[in-house]
Amino acid sequence: MIRTYALLAWAWTRAAAQYRVSFALMTAGAFVIGGLDIAVIWVIFANTDSLAGFGPAEVMFLYGTSELAFAISDTLFGNVDRVSQHIRAGTLDVMLVRPAATWAQVAADRFGPHRIGRIVMAAAVLCVALARLDIPLGRAWMVPVMVVSGSVIFTSMFTLGGALQFLLTDAPEVANAFTYGGAMLNQYPLSVYDPRIVMGLTYVLPLAFVNWRPGLYVLDRPDPLGLPSWTGLLSPAAALALAAVAALAWRAGVRRYRSTGS
């Protein structure tokens, strides 16, 4: 599966490299689009010193970790949510008859190396935030762990969104509410939302484990819901659990799939 994915992604990268100006423009565009969210945070903090109890550096840290995780998973596997296009165009049939993992083929299809611009922007924001926060090493080790688990959580969300499209082939945008919505949700401290939403994101759909719970641990902040701080360390477990659910949902979707038959 990894070999299939790498081969296909490399083929798309070589294709993108043929149009150098376009590639450069789109990479710059991805970088700027990532910067837009930061501009919004800048405007917010031009008007206030603290948002739901968090200062600018802390919000940048939460934004940076979530956005980096999302950008990595969107770049590598985000195209899984285009499965409805493949179903309608009939190209999914082609992928199913090939002796290679379907998920890897859908994820690698139209792999866009220009999206690295967004990863670079997110990484830069995270570095600036970390430099301003001065976090001791005893807690900073969690930062790479949360980025990796966050990427797994977002990839699982993309896969769940893709699996949902086997049912809602004509309405693929529903999946965006959960994938892009999940990314937007984690850009701000979850303390801005209704506590019931945060509970749902902890116990049902573990998006709070992308950056909020581990972020509270790293920032050494008390949890508004009153959970102990070690729960922030459960991100890898939450990511694996969601990945397992997503894998099952994807299999169920593929099994349910019946071609148009023409």
Partner: protein, 264 residues
């Protein structure tokens, strides 16, 4: 014949634009659902900001929440994401030659279709998020409903004027995706979609409020909330509509000379 056949050309094109989008009603409802989810998420962020700074930008908390759902309602009709016109594909494939030889101006043709599209998306993608916002948070009622509808219509025209320029630029730029990205960045940030332009600081805020993108979301929202003089907001939108449509007409003339029709 369809029921649109008895109408004159441009209303008929608008009707076809409406019907063409109405065929994908499930996709439109999915879009409305996504807009609603984003509206709810953004509303909480704005509530947190307005709790820290009550009365910011001249809005009360209820105004800010209303603004948030209005922005989500604008996404569909104003086509804030993506160019939303067939033109770039038709330019690349050469089909645009067919559009140019029609005995009707290309710009007016596209505008009519786009108004039909916007009318359908207003029903399918604007009203549901607004109703959801009203049910979940309670939004304020429009201060001047007639002026608001006029402002939405003008906003669609300004949005079309801008997107038409971006689309037609494909005649000169080989790959339109770079331009589409640039347009996306400018539109999402300077329309007021992400935050009200009234809270942008200093000269940057003044600049943002004077640019054409402000006519797409900020102006209709201000008319709705009563935070701007309706006549003033409508004049601002009409000015940008005229400027962008005039530029579009000039660019169409230039494109006419640029296009080379092969074969025969």
């Amino acid at each position: 014949m369809t029921s649109g056949a008895a109408l004159p050309l441009y209303p008929r094109l608008a009707w076809y634009g409406f019907r063409r989008h109405a065929a994908y009603w499930a996709a439109a409802l999915a879009g409305a659902f996504t807009n609603t989810v984003f509206g709810v998420l953004r509303a909480y962020v704005l509530i947190a900001l307005w709790q820290a700074r009550p009365g910011l930008g001249g809005y009360a908390v209820a105004d800010a929440v209303t603004f948030c759902f209005l922005t989500q309602a604008c996404i569909g009709p104003m086509q804030l994401f993506g160019v939303g016109l067939d033109l770039p594909q038709r330019i690349r494939s050469g089909d645009v030659a067919l559009d140019l030889v029609r005995p009707a101006p290309l710009q007016l043709w596209c505008l009519s279709e786009d108004l039909g599209r916007a009318a359908f998306l207003f029903l399918a993608r604007s009203i549901p998020p607004a109703l959801a916002g009203a049910a979940l948070f309670g939004i304020v009622a429009p201060r001047a409903p007639a002026a608001f509808l006029a402002s939405v219509t003008l906003g669609v025209v300004v949005s079309f004027g801008w997107r038409y320029l971006v689309a037609l630029a494909s005649c000169w730029v080989m790959d339109d995706r770079g331009l589409a990205t640039l347009s996306l960045v400018l539109t999402t940030f300077f329309s007021g979609l992400m935050l009200p332009l009234t809270i942008f600081p200093g000269w940057f805020g003044s600049l943002a409020r004077a640019l054409p993108w402000a006519a797409m979301v900020q102006a209709p929202s201000d008319v709705y909330l009563g935070t701007a003089e309706p006549a003033h907001a409508l004049a601002f939108q009409a000015l940008w509509a005229v400027v962008l449509l005039a530029l579009g007409a000039l660019l169409t003339r230039a494109a006419r000379r640029k296009v080379v029709i092969q074969g025969g």
